[in-house]
């Protein structure tokens, strides 16, 4: 029982991190029908800005988190303005290639800047404490990650559902044509989408670095791909879907190796099984868990 609860908390932690990153993919896709393949590398930049905040500037956890979210958010807005905006009328393929190029630029730029040695946050960043909750040992780090991710998601959900900015984001994803007629600048909404999506990826990056303290410039590749798959499985374009997809992936990735051995499945099968299950979901529901069939737009 204790083992199960611990694995459950681990799964929630990992799933929350995937969810935070998946949100950015899904939001950008929602407004631009663009898959931002640089998003995983933006997540990496967010994690490294945590190193900058905590070590270079010697800031505590919360200011570092805020700093990284703001700077990474602005980086996301800048990337959209410089790299994607000029291609709004261009073919999908040119945009995808540009996004991959931006990702390479970020990876290699970070490599040049920080070198190949893995980095981590200082011990004092979050002082680890282990709580005994009903006989189960749970570290405060996990609780912090899960609670923060939940709060960030709730904040985003409120913005998207309750504010005029969120309404504009949803409206763009339905029909771009009429949005300016409401007095809304489409460029502003797109910038806001990038700001929020990449800001959340930065939060994901820092929390990831807290949970798994080995940061390197390529850390965004694997994590980015997985979060992207989570967004697709959840139903790309829907933020509830990104959260659900991220959590689902976290649960599969933790529970397969945790219980696989006892039924004769080696833990090296973790990724094939995780992606196989996700593939089955997509076969059954091609639009993902929360997705609705999109009207073909011209």
């Amino acid at each position: 029982m204790e083992f199960f609860v611990q694995q459950f908390v681990n799964a929630l932690q990992l799933g929350s991190l995937y969810a935070l990153i998946a949100l950015g993919y899904t939001m950008v896709y929602g407004v631009l029908l663009l898959i931002n393949f640089a998003h995983g590398d933006i997540f990496m930049v967010g994690a490294f800005l945590g190193v900058f905040g905590s070590i270079t500037l010697d800031l505590p956890f919360v200011p570092t988190l805020v700093l990284s979210m703001v700077l990474t958010g602005l980086l996301g807005v800048g990337i959209e303005r410089v790299a994607y905006k000029p291609l709004r009328q261009a073919s999908r393929l040119s945009v995808v290639i540009t996004a991959l190029g931006v990702g390479l630029l970020l990876e290699n730029g970070m490599l040049a800047l920080t070198g190949a040695n893995p980095r981590s946050y200082p011990q004092t960043f979050i002082t680890t404490r282990v709580y005994d909750i009903g006989g189960v040992a749970i570290s405060n780090v996990k609780i912090i990650i899960i609670v923060l991710a939940a709060l960030l998601f709730a904040g985003l959900y409120t913005i998207v559902q309750r504010t005029k900015w969120g309404m504009a984001m949803r409206a763009i994803s339905y029909d771009k044509f009429a949005v300016p007629l409401m007095g809304v600048s489409q460029d502003q909404i797109i910038s806001l989408t990038f700001l929020l999506g990449t800001g959340l990826a930065a939060a994901g990056g820092i929390l990831w670095g807290v949970a798994f303290p080995v940061l390197n410039p390529y850390m965004g590749l694997r994590v980015g791909w997985k979060a992207f798959v989570a967004a697709v499985v959840g139903g790309i374009g829907d933020i509830r879907g990104a959260a659900a997809g991220g959590l689902l992936l976290g649960f599969i990735e933790i529970f397969v190796p945790a219980y696989g051995d006892s039924i004769g499945i080696s833990s090296t099968w973790r990724d094939p099984i995780a992606f196989g299950l996700l593939l089955i979901i997509l076969v059954v529901r091609p639009t993902g868990l929360f997705g609705v069939a999109r009207r073909q737009k011209v």
Binding site: R170, A171, D175, F177, A178, P180, L181, M182
Partner: protein, 234 residues
């Protein structure tokens, strides 16, 4: 003169959709542009609204030239387009559609204007939490007009509001448009349904393949042989 379009030229690549159109609308008027499929009616309205760039020409509203203005800034000037096909956001509720139309409007004005819209179209208030997708065509048209009112448009451009609606509904919506006009909104109405349009409007222009062929008071147009033959089945 509240509003005038002078020598407007618009093209899509090599297709010249509008060439040299001029017309005027006075404060408080209802003016209609009528014309067949492909005459360039939507192109003209979309260009006024800032969704399309003209090659040449001026669009003057209260002394400001709208011809090179972005669409969201045209709205700020007080010009609102009710687009062809209504273009309701189907994934937003009725209230959210109206709320979004008030994006640039202050909180107080917004609530007052939404109330006004509900007073013209009580159906929308009954349906306020329903998604746009679930409305009937007539209700969607009401919502499209409602959104234009919420933006604060003092000049309302309507692109074929009768499209696809039963005659009785068209009648109803045109009556509300007349009322909206009496309350001080100037209207430029584009229609294929020349019969209804000329009944509502004070004056009209007849558009053929991108140019104005005829213009005059609605009564005269309705009686002219060309209009009778081409648009009124006479």
């Amino acid at each position: 003169m509240l509003f005038s379009v002078q020598d407007l030229h618009v093209s899509y690549g090599s297709i010249r959709a509008v060439h040299g159109v001029s017309f005027e609308v006075d404060e408080g008027e209802i003016v209609t542009l009528i014309g067949a499929n492909g005459a360039g009616k939507s192109t003209i309205l979309n260009t006024i609204a800032g969704l399309q760039r003209p090659d040449q020409g001026e669009i003057i509203y209260r002394g400001a030239n709208l011809a090179r203005m972005d669409a969201h800034n045209v709205v700020k000037q007080g010009v609102a387009l009710v687009p062809e096909g209504r273009r309701i956001f189907g994934n937003l509720t009725v209230y959210e559609n109206l709320r979004l139309a008030g994006f640039q409007v202050s909180r107080d004005d917004l609530e007052a204007r939404i109330k006004l819209v509900y007073s013209y179209f009580p159906r929308l208030e009954e349906r306020r939490d329903q998604l746009g997708d679930t409305l009937s065509g007539g209700e969607q048209q009401m919502l499209a007009v409602g959104r234009a009112l919420v933006t604060g448009g003092r000049l309302m451009l309507l692109d074929e509001p009768s499209m696809g609606l039963a005659p009785i509904l068209v009648q109803h919506i045109f009556e509300i448009l007349a009322e909206i006009n009496r309350q001080g909104t100037t209207i430029l109405l584009v229609e294929q349904n020349a019969h209804m349009a000329l009944k509502l409007a004070n004056r009209g222009y007849v558009l053929e393949t991108g140019s104005v062929m005829l213009s005059g008071p609605s009564k005269e147009l309705a009686e002219s042989p060309e209009v009778q033959r081409a648009y009124l089945g006479g």
